[in-house]
Symmetry: C2
Subunit: 198 residues, 2 copies
Amino acid sequence: MTERLATQFAFLAEVEKLKSVTRATPIHDASRPENSAEHSWTLALYALVLADQAAPGVDVLRAVRMLLIHDIVEIDVGDVPIHLANGTAHGSAEIQAAELAAAKRIFGILPKDMADEFQALWEEFEANETPTAIYAKSLDRTQPVLLNEQAGGGSWVDYDVQWEELETRVGTKIARGLPGVWDWVQARIRPWFDARGR
Amino acid sequence: MTERLATQFAFLAEVEKLKSVTRATPIHDASRPENSAEHSWTLALYALVLADQAAPGVDVLRAVRMLLIHDIVEIDVGDVPIHLANGTAHGSAEIQAAELAAAKRIFGILPKDMADEFQALWEEFEANETPTAIYAKSLDRTQPVLLNEQAGGGSWVDYDVQWEELETRVGTKIARGLPGVWDWVQARIRPWFDARGR
């Protein structure tokens, strides 16, 4: 049991590093970039708070677990902003391969049974096919949008994002799992783009 | 439904502010203080990873939910370090009253049914009586200890903490819910104190 505990704590020490991975989105008051650890916390809360928006078949607590671990691969790969390189960098084959290797390395620190469980959760999230993964992925697209709006523009300014680009890269992903949420978010943020002729 | 969504998103925007509440513990590389949002993320992971250490009767996913929201009151009250004022500040009646008012204000932003649910979760955590709350509280005491050790001393240096003080203020709380974990953690960190004659 002591050896098992040692590997569990080795994993928990390793994932502390996610606090040093910064994202394109600033925090609420635009004072600094958000990091991927605190982003993951926010998403787990999103999953709890928006549970009544989830489609039939969604396992909300499985989505919470998924969202808690979904960005751990960024310890090795870093965060790839969704609007970087006109939206072509995020999800490229190269990044996907690097993230898979990172998942195997980092989850592999855990005892075998837990490593398999976390790996399966992460792969389900990435595949984005089960109702639970689609719910989690839609939340992962929703929070940065509202945080950008709260911070006064955030990465929309940095990457000079146009409304149509946001709709394609982000809106369609939100609407897939959470159509009612996208309607609400759209009405909320559209004025920001309209006011800037974007 | 739109009005309900608006209150849910108002709550999610409010809790973004937890990212600006700093703690006494530094992050892994001692480059900056940890904040309470990323701390909460780490604890939710602790609850998942150390599930096989939980006593009978612990609901691990309830502990995860508890840990995700346990520090939200700090948006109004701030973090009260465990070693501040020789350990007398943390948990004082004054702080407890302020935290209760904060819980009512912040959870009260949510629709009534969710506000009640989050308030009950938070009160269960604070009361520290159910197996699930005791498990969650023990994890909340464990992570800062290991993070201090990872960062080279952290708040033990800042507050000149002696081994006996750590044992009283922290060790007994860890051991209450996780005796095996405290045995392991103790063996791990004791050399740090011994080497400094603390």
